[in-house]
């Protein structure tokens, strides 16, 4: 690899011309694109598919705001090159309710996780919320949540700069059918009752 910092020193002849054909099923609808190889799944969703619910936070895989479900698994779409995922089925926050209703369109329906976030006031500014909700849905599908401590550990890839973590855990615990502690509980107390639920 070149040791120079400048693009001029790189052998990039022909690189800018390449376009890759790719097909996705996004929230139940088939989409086709011809895109540059460096397009991330996050940019595809937001700028090509018009689905801006999936957020660009850090763009480096550290905050989780870009979390969506790809082939049923939660991933950071900011670190995913779209070409690699050609042929995948994607569910974003816009399609979650539809996914849970087996494809039935319904304008006013919410996924239970969305409803729980509202009921538990599990956000303040809301920027991280689509990623939090998609991550939580993906996490419960993975099947490794037995306690509230498990929720905290397995949601650690989603940062909330407003600090709504206590209510986020409560919302997820309700959907996971763990006995939700009062929303006023403190994080410290939250940690001690890990195995007892």
């Amino acid at each position: 690899m070149s040791t120079s910092n400048t693009r001029d020193a790189l052998d990039l002849a022909g690189v800018d011309e390449q376009r890759i054909g790719m097909t996705f099923e996004i929230n139940g609808t088939r989409h086709q694109f011809e895109l540059e190889p460096w397009t991330t799944l996050l940019d595809l969703l937001r700028e090509r598919a018009g689905l801006t619910g999936t957020r660009k936070g850090c763009d480096h895989g550290q905050c989780g705001a870009c979390t969506a479900l790809v082939n049923g698994q939660r991933i950071n779409t900011c670190l995913a090159l779209a070409a690699v995922y050609d042929g995948s089925t994607i569910t974003t926050i816009e399609g979650l309710a539809r996914a849970v209703k087996n494809g039935q369109e319904s304008d006013d329906a919410l996924h239970p996780m969305q409803q729980a976030f509202i009921d538990h006031d599990a956000f303040q500014c809301g920027y991280c919320t689509p990623g939090q909700i998609c991550s939580a849905v993906g996490m419960l599908a993975e099947g490794h949540v037995d306690t509230r401590d498990d929720i905290r550990e397995l949601m650690s890839g989603n940062l909330c700069r407003c600090g709504a973590y206590v209510n986020i855990v409560n919302a997820i615990a309700e959907v996971a059918q763990l006995n939700a502690a009062p929303t006023s509980e403190r994080a410290a107390g939250d940690r001690k009752d890990g195995g007892a639920e």
Binding site: G61, N76, L79, S135
Partner: protein, 333 residues
């Protein structure tokens, strides 16, 4: 993001051929580190060879009774695999101590071995870095070096390997399977990564265009007496300041086998076969355990920001022995 071309391979031979055709090609698997490095202008490949469709996604039992894990098996799939979780819980725990669930769902076994250091200066292209730009210097030596190495360092580079999984693989005496233009070969895990020395830009003993096809675990998984201790600045989703992967075989209150690897302290997962040989055969006592912990750091070199890691390492090692044996080796408070 920097521009690059893209080629998709469907088998190992095709991947190697694609790679050979370009001067600055890189294999792309999970991409959780490489895509980020490209965004940061630290990695500058002109061709990405997408290997995610290669048939390297199986976990199989080997004839001697070990397990062979395909290079493209994701971290999540390894950690939650029934046989891995039961027979090699040290590996499962180390994996689950690393990264986030989203990243573990994508990151692969092979990619984990090849992830680059998280040294601040390596990532900051506005600063010199001997690993990124050989010969440019190392600001970490006298700079912000809280996360840096205390063992096996060089005057060129004090970066640490960031992996948790690799620390467990080092302790388990894993073997790395490789394929390249001149055929296949295997490397013992201890010979896979390199110390920085005078060539800090070279992390591993992979040859140009070589690809990791699998990681193989020997039959001994140390399921009865093992521990993975990870000390970090927050409870989850942070790289290790110090980590310890420990596997023990005990017999009649004696330590028959001890495999101990350290993370967060060196340019590669750190094994000390001399210290392990010293401990082997000794009775499981406080003196033996603490003596072993002290021996591991006998040649440690701390700097302004990271000298605390020396004591932290010994304490983490003692803690690992306590967890692996359900005994106490620390003084009562």
């Amino acid at each position: 993001m920097n521009r690059f071309s893209y080629a998709r391979a469907t088998d190992v031979e095709q991947a190697i051929a694609h790679h050979r055709g370009s001067g600055a090609a890189a294999f792309l698997a999970g991409g959780t580190n490489l895509v980020d490095l490209i965004k940061e202008n630290v990695a500058r490949p002109t061709l990405l060879v997408d290997i995610t469709r290669l048939p390297l996604k199986d976990i199989q039992t080997t004839p001697p009774g070990g397990v062979k894990i395909g290079a493209l098996v994701t971290n999540s799939a390894v950690a939650y695999h029934e046989q891995i979780a039961q027979r090699y819980p040290l590996l499962a725990k180390a994996i689950l101590a690393g990264a986030s669930a989203q990243i573990r769902n994508v990151a692969t076994v092979g990619g984990n071995l090849l992830q680059r250091t998280r040294c601040h200066y390596f990532y900051d292209t506005g600063t010199p870095c001997n690993k990124r730009e050989p010969g440019s210097g190392c600001p970490a030596l006298e700079g912000v070096n809280r996360i840096h190495a205390i063992l096996g360092t060089s005057e060129q580079c004090i970066a640490v390997h960031p992996s948790d999984m690799c620390v467990a693989l080092a302790a388990l005496d894993a073997v790395v399977h490789l394929a390249g233009e001149s055929g296949t070969r295997v490397l013992p895990f201890a010979n896979f990564h390199r110390l920085a020395g005078d060539t800090p830009q070279i992390d591993t003993n992979l040859e140009a265009g070589e690809i990791i096809t699998a990681v193989e675990l020997p039959p001994a998984g140390f399921a009865d007496h093992h521990a993975y201790v990870k000390v970090r600045d927050r409870a989850s989703y942070a790289f290790a300041l110090v980590s310890v992967a420990l596997g023990l075989r005990l017999e009649d209150e004696k330590i028959r086998e001890v495999n101990c690897a350290l993370g967060g302290v060196a340019h590669k997962p750190w094994r000390d076969v001399e210290a392990e040989a010293w401990l082997r055969g000794q009775a499981l006592t406080r003196d033996a355990v603490r003596g072993f912990a002290d021996m591991l750091v006998r040649e440690a070199h701390g700097r302004r920001g990271n000298a605390f890691k020396i004591e932290l390492t010994t304490r983490a090692v003692v803690r690992a022995f306590e967890m692996a044996t359900q005994r106490r080796f620390t003084e009562e408070a």
